[in-house]
Symmetry: C2
Subunit: 227 residues, 2 copies
DNA sequence: ACCTGAACACCGTTCAAGT
DNA sequence: ACCTGAACACCGTTCAAGT
């Protein structure tokens, strides 16, 4: 690849002469948002930015370091809930706000889950969530349990086990397949049949399911608080 | 790599002349169990088995196909609970049995979560879980909700967000670090202080936390059943 | 201080050739 | 039918060399 200067029209994304960690980070997040996480490579990122891939190593220790920073940046985008409501409302608002943020970055859940240690924004987020519960009257021990029960849901996501969006270009073939599966998996067949009446299995409303689960858990925690 | 025959002493794992999907699968699971999932490559697997890496493609469509098979094989190892108890006990036993199985394959959670579609054993497992709830008196709609609330926990795992096992070779340095973190994250500091009295943060008992969360969810579902 | 390019040690996979 | 090896198109990263 030939040398390119800051004013070279072939490198539209090279805005200033020198790279920075911030610019690298936001370019990486943009690329992941648009093309998916599997398209994040040091080489492609370098190309995107108009720098030699090896230049990136001046601003980031290695790819893991970059992924750490990406994950933490996304958590840092979450808008904290205004803290004057009761703990349950605050927690609910916080988690749903996290969910809104994460939906803008579909790659983030798997990257967040694969991190070995939380970054500062993530620490701050958990500190905030812990504070909400403590101020709401939870014992330290119960807060600890609560964080484990909520798991990744506290950051607004659940890693869906598999796309139950059974893509059906051909409804007739799908029905045939469904019949044959029904014999092997009668209980799942019943589930699918009912769900599809309500607008398609997989058309199962993720937002609604998330809310349902969150409320069940928060209600359970509230009950334990008075247990 | 030189040609090796079935009797070549340099290829100890080559037991019979020809490869099979089963042998490939169990070799892959063994390798992942011992060396971790990141050490699973078509090339290493071929070497391990004493075959040219390209031979694997006669038994497996590609690496994703292999990972699909690995995930489904692990779910197939789960021993189903004997079904005569009440739904809550059956569900609890099933999930805890799943957990025991998954603990033998630490790589499995992330592989299972990254699958796009469930294999037959996984379908069977979910069909069984669905059956337990239906026979326990849950409506189809509530079963659907229940599966979403349980999420990956139904398969016996939760993807821990990060190792809260703060490795501390030097307790003095750790204490110093803790002090400085306490200023920035007071609520987490309180949590850590308390947990470490009970035998170390991260020394937080995962089994106990899993049980706690599972019971909270099952209790919540039971309550909704009568709601 | 930051950027560059060659080089190294890996990947997954296709394809033509062997047996 | 199954196995092989060369080849292709990728990776992340080190290191010496440039400016």
């Amino acid at each position: 690849m030939p040398r390119r200067t800051a004013t070279d029209p072939r490198s539209p994304t090279r805005g200033t002469a020198s790279l920075s960690r911030e610019r690298l980070l936001s370019a990486a997040i943009d690329l992941a948002d648009h093309d998916g996480i599997e398209s994040i490579s040091m080489r492609k990122l370098g190309q995107q930015l108009g720098f030699d891939p090896m230049s990136l190593y001046n601003h980031v220790r290695n790819k893991e370091d970059l992924l750490d920073a990406m994950a933490d940046a996304v958590v840092g985008e979450i808008e904290p809930s205004l803290g004057d409501a009761d703990w349950k409302m605050s927690m609910r608002d916080t988690v749903l706000s996290a969910r809104q943020t994460l939906l803008r970055h579909p790659w983030a859940p798997s990257v967040i889950e694969s991190r070995r240690a939380p970054g500062p924004a993530t620490m701050r987020y958990f500190d905030g969530a812990t504070g909400i519960l403590r101020r709401g009257g939870f014992s330290v021990a119960l807060v600890h349990h609560a964080l484990h029960v909520l798991g990744s849901r506290i950051l607004g996501f659940t890693q869906d086990l598999f796309d139950d969006a059974t893509d059906r270009p051909d409804p007739e073939a799908a029905a045939k397949l469904a019949d044959s599966l029904a014999a092997a998996y009668p209980n799942l067949a019943e589930l699918a049949r009912t769900a599809s009446h309500e607008g398609g299995l997989g058309g199962c409303d993720d937002d609604l399911e998330f809310d349902f689960a969150l409320d069940l858990i928060l209600d359970g925690l509230e009950r334990l608080k008075y247990g």
